[in-house]
């Protein structure tokens, strides 16, 4: 079983990297993009536990370490590999 975790900046938090990438895309002629936001993608693997337990562990990991509650939000999904 695997957790796929997506961490991104909260709305309203300036994302200088996303802005720079957005400018670069524009500069190479790729248009019609309103904005680019950059975040993190993390995978965690589990063995021999229930989906609920995996979900609980993933949520705790996000709250305590993986995401900064001041600036970031997270979502995740638990998938069978």
């Amino acid at each position: 079983m695997k957790a796929k975790i997506y961490i991104s900046y909260k709305e309203g938090i300036l994302d200088p990297q996303g802005k720079t990438v957005s400018h670069a895309l524009d500069a190479i002629g790729i248009k019609k993009i309103n904005s680019v936001r950059m975040g993190k993608y993390i995978e965690m693997e589990f063995n021999g536990i229930s989906k609920d337990k995996a979900s609980e562990i993933t949520d705790e990991s996000c709250r305590k370490l993986l995401a900064n509650p001041n600036t970031e939000t997270y979502t995740f999904e638990i998938v069978e590999k």
Binding site: P16, Q17, L65, N68, N70, T71
Partner: protein
Amino acid sequence: MHFAVIVFPGSNCDHDAYHVFRHILDVPVDFVWHRETDLKKYDAILIPGGFSYGDYLRTGAIARFSPVMESIIKEANAGKPVFGICNGFQILIESGLLPGALIVNQDVRFLSQNVSIEVDSTNSIYTRSLKKGRRLTMPIAHKQGNFIADEDTLNMLQDEDRIAFRYYKGRNGNPNGSKKRIAGILNKKRNVLGMMPHPERAAESILGSDDGIDIFKSIIGVT
């Protein structure tokens, strides 16, 4: 006053800080490895700059869970001076001892240069012997030093006189883009200071500036 300089895997300004206490100011100081859990014998704690845990995940995010942090939080809450410089500031924010966040600089570059900062609050052990508005020159060396916080927090820092240092307002003044030009802030009790610029690296004239030494002199109460 007996100082502790905390050493994490990846700290790299620990020797600069130690040098200031031991050789310039001639006060007792020890390196304290991050696995230590008892800081009772120290009168003040310095968390130095560097790249603790390689800046993995977020700056300061993993150091915050080092064994020593629990005692640092305990001593800070008891009123002991805790001074975080650069990565030390990032760790203090991750640990919740200081508010806000330090995100990547506005132009997404690592900045290594001298800056001018101005003393804003003189109401702390760190700034009590400095004059408000005095301009100090010292280096910054960081990629994540862009201080942000929500409006309420920024107003609170301002209203409670907790902004210890701001970047100079003029041209090239606020290179990382920090809100309200914040370079250093205090906690509510005013015993915890975090700042991005490096006073320990501007503590002798041979280094190009000795403005930083006055912050350390202020802590130990000499002028």
